[in-house]
């Protein structure tokens, strides 16, 4: 490494080791902050969940899970709310899932990547950030008053479908874009049409990611309160038709706590809610790992 006889190697062992001490100290400090930050995040989560569970498990009995509401929720159980929650999840996804998948296909494959797509993408991004109560107000006025759906399962499901639509479109879009282009070329190269390629090759390959989005949407439906307050109402019985007013677990929890009806039963309801959400998130995480197997293939 000699240049004109004047070049001296800079990397003496002493120089390197001397500087290493400083670098190690900086690393220790950085790691210490990371541990503290991570600790706070985990502690807060465990504190909340632990607190709810500690208070809530006492309330959970077979009767609590299987009986209807008595005395506005002071007595009895939450069975109708569990069923109503399932109804709303089912109906909301029935509206949102097909629309979101078709929209995602359109946005990724059929339309030209132009201004229109940028506008749609802008709205799907920003719609996701609008407070849900705004959607609730819209559902109340448009579906409830103008279309005359009043407070009903139908109104609640339509409103919640609009709320989860942006998230569903984006996850479906990302899942479709993750499928290797070579799959598509292989199919088109055999003479398959675009739609056959989508339906038989691309969508099946993207399905774990699409389901992941749907499960995140389910979590959102289960957890939503404000928008449903305006649109679903507060019927405390199992909904008899899609025009019945109903009450999900979240709405019931809100009622119990806000009206001071039964703190004990509010904790019990909260515990059931948390368990449902945790289960959904575990499934979503598993599906996410399944779709990410493509990432190295691209």
């Amino acid at each position: 490494m000699k240049q004109n006889g004047a070049y001296h190697r800079w990397s003496s062992k002493e120089f390197i080791l001397n500087n290493r001490k400083k670098q190690k100290r900086a690393q220790r400090i950085a790691f210490a902050f990371m541990y503290i930050a991570a600790g706070i995040a985990v502690a807060a989560l465990f504190a909340i969940i632990g607190f709810i569970f500690a208070n809530g498990f006492k309330a959970i009995t077979w009767d609590f899970l299987s009986k209807g509401v008595k005395d506005a929720g002071r007595e009895g159980g939450i069975f109708p709310m569990i069923i109503n929650t399932l109804y709303l999840v089912g109906l909301g996804l029935l509206f949102a899932a097909p629309v979101s998948i078709l929209a995602a296909i359109y946005m990724t494959e059929y339309s030209r990547q132009g201004i229109l797509i940028k506008v749609i993408r802008f709205f799907t991004t920003n719609l996701a950030g609008i407070p849900s109560i705004i959607f609730g107000l819209f559902g109340f006025v448009f579906f409830g008053k103008m279309l005359g759906w009043s407070w009903s399962l139908l109104n609640g499901a339509a409103t919640i479908a609009i709320i989860i639509l942006p998230t569903l479109i984006r996850t479906a879009e990302e899942a479709i874009l993750t499928v290797p282009a070579s799959f598509k070329e292989g199919s088109l190269g055999l003479g398959a049409t675009k739609w056959q390629t989508m339906r038989r090759v691309v969508i099946p390959a993207a399905s774990p990611g699409i389901f992941n989005g749907i499960i995140l949407g389910m979590g959102r439906i289960v957890g939503e309160t404000a928008a449903l307050f305006f649109t679903l109402g507060s019927g405390a019985k199992i909904a008899e038709s899609i025009m019945s007013s109903a009450r999900t677990l979240s709405l019931h929890l809100y009622n119990l706590a806000k009206e001071g009806i039964s703190v004990q039963n509010a904790y019990g309801t909260a515990t059931v809610l948390i368990i449902i959400i945790l289960a959904l998130n575990l499934i979503a995480g598993w599906l996410d790992r399944r779709i990410s197997r493509f990432k190295e293939m691209r």
Binding site: R112, S182, F183, E185, G186, L188, L190, G191, A192, R200
Partner: protein, 264 residues
């Protein structure tokens, strides 16, 4: 072994399968192919060689219109496949792609069973008869020299096959739609030497029945397997002749420089 001792037989007066005249291709304002004229003979192996970026992959994708998928791609001139001008309005692109089947650089089996991969083409073209499909799958896998290796695992995922097996599966998948032309875009570049050998042997067999156009980076491969060789450089067709002629006695200085390894 020298590639100068290439096969002897000249392409006899056989039919022209693909006739290319005045073909230019643009990506936006950038010209990727410049006025290509070429007659590709039926049931011969035509190799396309040239350095990276010379347009040979772009060229092969003109023959089954896979370039349609690329936004901003524009084509001038005529490509006549088996008597049909494929860039005229009103031609059926699906039928063209069935007739001119493509094998890609990286094996790209679908996430389905071996059987469903091969049956995919016939199915998308509307064949439903299960007995016929089973016969097609067996026939195609045998023709692709893969049957013995997969006959006991037809209903397992194709993703579990080795790279070489996957590529032969992709060939079987193309054969199942009964093409006249096989377009192969560097089909062995992702494979080990033994798998490459198997594919080359397969090409030698398949040319009895199919017109084969193969893009390759590997000049020895071109010399070993092809009857005709086309040398591309910077989007131009520099030389197109019998393989023996191109490798033994090239008429253009640039071809000579390339095949003797002076660049590329």
């Amino acid at each position: 072994m020298s590639y100068l001792t290439a096969r002897k037989e000249a392409p006899e007066a056989s039919n022209v399968m693909v006739k290319i005249s005045g073909l230019s291709l643009y990506y936006g304002n950038c010209r990727a192919l410049n006025n290509i004229n070429m007659d590709i003979m039926e049931k011969k192996v035509t190799a396309l060689i040239g350095p990276s970026g010379c347009g040979k992959s772009t060229f092969i994708k003109c023959i089954n219109r896979m370039n349609d998928l690329i936004p901003g791609c524009r084509i001038e001139g005529d490509v006549i496949v088996n008597g049909t001008n494929i860039y005229k309005d009103g031609i059926d692109v699906s039928y063209l792609r069935k007739e001119a089947g493509m094998v890609f650089q990286k094996p790209n089996p679908f996430e389905m069973s071996v059987f469903d991969n091969v049956a995919y083409g016939p199915r998308v073209h509307g064949l439903r008869d299960r007995h016929k499909l089973a016969a097609i799958v067996e026939h195609s896998l045998k023709a692709a020299a893969l049957w013995d290796e997969v006959k006991d695992r037809l209903h397992q995922s194709a993703m579990g096959l080795s790279g070489g097996q996957q590529q032969r599966l992709c060939i079987a998948r193309v054969l199942a739609v009964e093409p006249s032309i096989l377009l192969m875009d560097e089909p062995t570049s992702a494979l080990d030497p033994i798998s490459t050998q198997k594919i080359e042997d397969l090409i030698a067999e398949l040319k009895e029945e199919y017109t084969i156009i193969i893009v390759t980076h590997n000049m020895q491969q071109a010399a070993r397997i092809s009857d005709m060789t086309a040398f591309f450089l910077l989007g131009e067709l520099v030389e197109f002749d019998r393989t023996a002629q191109v490798f033994r006695n090239p008429s253009d200085k640039r071809t000579e420089d390339y095949i003797t390894g002076r660049f590329g």
